[in-house]
Symmetry: D2
Subunit: 239 residues, 4 copies
């Protein structure tokens, strides 16, 4: 099944490696292998995507069968662009998607648009982050495959989405759906425990974008398993 | 009549001074005075807005009664932000609006959103530029007062909008209207002669954002008059 | 006496307005007028420079005789550069100098160099900020008129330069002098009281770059007077 | 022999892959293998360094014994910095050095300083680009291992350094040496043929930073060989 189809038919768990000490080398690879193992173990009833740093894309893409996304790309052309990461380069590593506009790496509006357009041409799946309901609505007009909503109320607070104002997520979902019914929506902030994944799905999103809860865990496979199990349970219950 | 109402009831001519040699000092002021004179001469049937550099805002706002817009503002807070131009500062000069995301000064999506939000709080009118139909649609979701569409086919080519593919403008208008029926739309590229203003209005926009045709003219008042007359003729004909 | 000569023969007090609420409009002007008054009152034995926001440059330059510096400029050319502040524009306002690379507004190395070069062509005096001894040494090679050293140990800590490690300042002075004996050196962080100005001069710098201690004071004239008096006393004692 | 020693005792040829179509995948690896082959073939009398895109660093570092440099790094810390490339990450790939401030990827002065400092802590060799003699002098104060001078007169013009004003290079070398006698200096622009490498060394630099002449060649090994042979001949002749 193609990614573009799979993200529409299953719950979704995207692991943003960021550049934690566990994000690269053998530790980074090990987390990808664990994610793939959970994917298989749970009967492929959830899609798990890993987003390691650019330096790890080629190696990890070769070693695991689950989708690998870049954390960022530069919407520039191949050629004389020293130090940049054009989408063609990302594609060549074996990665099948790219994140754009993460809250730690904001892009110009014109760069987001060009990035989505180029990704589409190259067959790469796009995940674009958005901080507020209005920004999420704007991003939805650019037609990425996935939008991760990062309500400022939830970012880096450790506050669970289920306990923060849940209407921030539901409002965002409502605004996005008014203009784009195709895009897959993730909750992209405030995910620290398995129960937060459940809340994210009950609030109407397809899954989560998660980072430190897995990357800083002593047992990433265990955390991935717990989150994936809750996601599957809540997603299919929803019908 | 308030600007926010006036831009909805009249054709609109926004003069972007950029930083041409004629944009500041006595020459910059003279163009604003000429614009005001045309505004009065034509019975206030068109709204003419001038957008001089930041250094000229205070002086020009004091000398003319037509609206003065900043060319850019930084969506930062008052305080320890050396060298930046917060919206509160723009407001204090007497300017009544602000341009954001001009093709020569692209902003991050999150900056555009924050800029529009702060402008709204301060009672400043916003004019946001957008390069493509999709970007224009995205900007429309952020609810600025005015969007200037700058089709890449027209930017800096000297190609008249009436002769370039007119569907680029009509497509953009259509996409914006699907998600935002309130916003005023301008044609923001390819305006070099009065007939281009007519074409811009016939294609469904409310007026134009124009720069070099006026700023580099030996007789700015004459060019403003010609453009304004055509704008009035086409706008009210449309009904 | 020209600024370029005056900064070599007197102690120096540069007031960075930043964009505090007191930085613009009548309050901003009042602080410039107070600074001029102190300058005259103390027999012009100290040079006091004000650096208000770009929007205030023209008005303040017209109203006071002391030098007015911009807080920032963009080393771009006149022409199609919407929203930028070329040095020619700064010059036209009546400002006689420009700050570059403030810790709140870092520039690319190539921009600092181009800015200094253009300022020199236009007869504008340059004040470039530098965070560390090594950066200060690098800046000194670019031959600005003034360098303000901002030891990270002192920035925004409220820690007086006299109590923090004084060798940070003396080391910086030593490194700069090895490669550039012409440049005037200021202490640019940790100045909250008059005694800090004294310490800055005793450590071998010509004066200070100060912001909040004056901008947030209820009686700016009093603070300027106290700082200027100490500066004069310590500077001429040094011989 | 360590790189830091080798760059002081041999001529130097640095191949900047940029992001040409030949820069990644099997083609990128093949060029690195060719460079290593030339290095061995010529008795290791020249040091050849390859600088592929970030995505290729790990693979190429594993496959060849010659030094591999990153084209760019972000002087940020490990942790929550999505999409950035901290120096620790570069180090972990097996790369032994990093380029900073290429003319296509200019950095803030404070970033260059922090990058050099972190590279030093990590044992990575630094190559910093500089556009003008003055900028080169400034960079020299920051103590990188290598400076590549890119006289604007030579960049991207296809004009050979031997035919352009050679004093641009000799002036730059002279200014750098006044403040830093340790740093290795390369000619970083205008290198299209083997004879340009000879001219670069005769003008007092240790070698060249070259890109398109190799990356766009149908026979990279041949071009590398020719350039390396001339470099060896001129370098050791100089004594």
């Amino acid at each position: 099944m193609s990614i573009k189809r799979e993200i529409r038919e299953k719950p979704l768990l995207v692991i943003n490696y960021k550049v934690y000490a566990s994000a690269f080398g053998s530790r980074g690879l090990k987390i990808a292998v664990a994610a793939e193992k959970v994917y298989e173990k749970l009967g492929r009833n959830i899609l798990i995507i890993v987003a390691p740093p650019a330096t790890e894309l080629r190696l990890i893409s070769e070693q695991v069968s689950i989708p690998v996304f870049a954390q960022h790309a530069d919407p520039v052309e191949l050629g004389a662009n020293t130090g940049y990461l054009p989408l063609e380069l990302i594609k060549d590593t074996g990665a099948t998607g790219v994140m754009l506009n993460h809250s730690e790496h904001r892009l110009k509006l014109s760069e987001i648009e060009r990035g989505i357009e180029k990704a589409l041409e190259l067959g790469l799946t796009t995940l674009v982050c958005a901080s507020t309901p209005r920004v999420a609505g704007a991003v939805a007009m650019l037609k990425p495959d996935i939008i991760a909503v990062e309500p400022p109320e939830l970012i880096g607070t450790g506050v669970a989405v289920s306990k923060a104002k849940p209407e921030v997520v539901t409002d965002t979902v409502r605004i996005i759906k008014q203009v784009n019914t195709e895009v897959v929506i993730l909750t992209g902030a405030g995910i620290s425990r398995a129960e937060d994944v459940g809340a994210a799905i009950r609030l109407g999103t397809t899954g989560v974008l998660v980072a430190s809860a897995i990357m800083k865990s002593e047992n990433p496979e265990k955390v991935i398993t717990e989150m994936a199990e809750v996601a599957i349970k809540e997603y299919y219950k929803r019908g």
